[in-house]
Amino acid sequence: MAELTYREAVADGIRQEMKRDESVVFLGEDIAAAGGVFKTTVGLLDEFGPIRVRDTPISEQAILGAAMGAAMTGLRPIAEIMFSDFLAVCWDIVANQMAKARYMTNGQISVPLVVRTANGGGSRFGAQHSQSVENWAMAIPGIKVVAPSSPADVKGLLAAAIRDDNPVLFFEQKSLYAVKGTVPDGEHIEELGKSKVIRQGSDVTIVALALMVPRALEAAERLQEIDGISATVVDVRSLVPLDTSTILSEVSRTGRMITVEENPRLCGWGAELSSIVAEELFFDLDGPIIRITSPHIPLASADHLEDMMIPSVDRIYEEIRKSMS
């Protein structure tokens, strides 16, 4: 088992797949010579050369369009959009083009590509460089949506996304880039569409994604120590496809569900999950479903303000404790 940072796991995942498959190519702004603005892709240019690892102009539509055209004609491109907020300038290619090409052509066109992007807050970058936009993607039929919380999952899920024959949006939480974790040696690949139970408890099920996973876990430990509340923590990992079978079985066992979402309140993934649980597990519930989210406000820059907005361990702990008393 190697100890890698979340950041290093990105390059490691790309490297593993570029080595085994010549059709994997990688493009984006500052990703080659500079190794990425978050230093997630250091070394790839040297290893695979400028034909496979290509710096692009600041042309997000051209980046995603080129990735899509290449994917339609035999390659497996990985495209980087530097900050997920910038997806708004090339959203046409995501929402109208790559998501729909297969369906509209009745299966004639295949779009096996991955869009990697640095998502989420915690870096004091302000409202245009900090958003959690995975819900934008989740709302569109035809794209898979993945958001890992650990270095091992970055590598394993990225590898799976690259091998998948569908367009996958891969959200890397930028505040996690420095986090270390063990990654299995040798080839490592995970399955898309599977959640993971990372802590087993009996009183309440906390469902979390990306940066919210370590925070939920810490809150769960505190609930156990201080209040004797035993919490299950599920790392959602994949929003589309959504592993409702794992989540529903955990919620049904504990009788309670809390979602912890970094996104602003309205239409977060937790809302969809709440509706599924309400429809399908209503009689198993022992209390109301609680959603813990960022407020419906653009993210502020100042550290004091940003910390008040994004769910913290303290807030997660407090809200769950209150709801259980």
């Binding site: 190519v25 034909i51 290509r54 692009t56 102009p57 042309s59 539509q61 051209a62 980046i63 995603l64 369009g65 080129a66 990735a67 899509m68 055209g69 290449a70 994917a71 339609m72 004609t73 035999g74 390659l75 491109p77 046409d92 290619i93 109208n96 083009q97 090409a101 297969r102 369906y103 509209m104 052509t105 009745n106 299966g107 004639q108 066109i109 295949s110 096996p112 039929p141 035809g142 998948d164 024959d165 569908n166 569409g193 589309v240 496809p241 959504l242 592993d243 409702t244 079978s245 599924i276």
Partner: protein
Amino acid sequence: MAKEPEKKSLKNYVSNDDIGEDVRRELFRLQLECRHVEQKAYDLFLQNLIKGTSHLGLGQEAIAAGFGGAMKEGDYTFCTYRGHNHTLVRGASMTGVLGELMGRQCGLLGGKGGSMHLTSVEHGAMGSYAIIGAHLPIAIGAAWSAQYRKSDQVTVCFFGDGTTNIGAFHEALNMAQVWKLPVIFVCENNLYMEYTPISEVTAVENPAADRASAYGLESIIVDGNDADEVYRHAMAALEKAREGEGPSLIEAKTYRHSGHSRADPGDYRPDGELESWLKRDPLPMYRNRLLEFGLAEDEVVEMEEEVIKRVDEATEIAKSSPPPTEEVMATEVWADGSSTWRN
């Protein structure tokens, strides 16, 4: 078939020209197919057999035909919602095209795409795109893939004059030139973006050609109503692309004979404009050229009748094809054929 002697000698002379009789026949046939399928589409609207919207390419056939005649099997085309012509010239079946317009099972897309999204990957027709500009970046991706795979495939991307004012046009041209991609951008300047004259909303006179120099490209303007002219420029640009010398941008001047879409009577056009362009209708112009170059009238008539017969047959087959069933509604969202988003 007997021909008049003096015409024969002219034919011998012109058969040594750069295009030759076989290609001319092919260019004429392609234009006829486009023209008659579009006219049939128009009739089928009136009979309410085609629903929704549709954007006809009547008057613009010479551009699609000129390229269709010049491209090789395996080359890629990308086009817009005004893409019936471009899909047909690559070899897609008339039944598939008309069936799709009518929303029938036999449609190219099984009824899932409709008029604005005609696609026939087996013929290299990589799709019709209905968001202005989107397919230019996608086309450069196909060209990049061909370059990476060291195949000699060239990508041709058709779009309108209005498209030159959207960002994707500029992003795609720049990146195509920087990466020296085997792609040809073909702007069909029909003078209007929807209902607005292009000159009222564009800073330069020639919306594509005048932008070429910004991307280090040659400024090329062609008569888009003359299939021979289009063909010559297509051949040159295709050769350039195959030799690794990068992209071309071609502005073809033309005019659409019908409104922008089904709902548009075209009232905004000044009096006499349509009439003056009808004098340069690509079909009669090309027909006359064939006669001038020595083809007999009855041979031309035979070609025309043959195409009309095929269009009529395709129409009958499409009409008798049933509508898509519920089973296919939810297929082909994902690569495994399903539409499943949860377990």
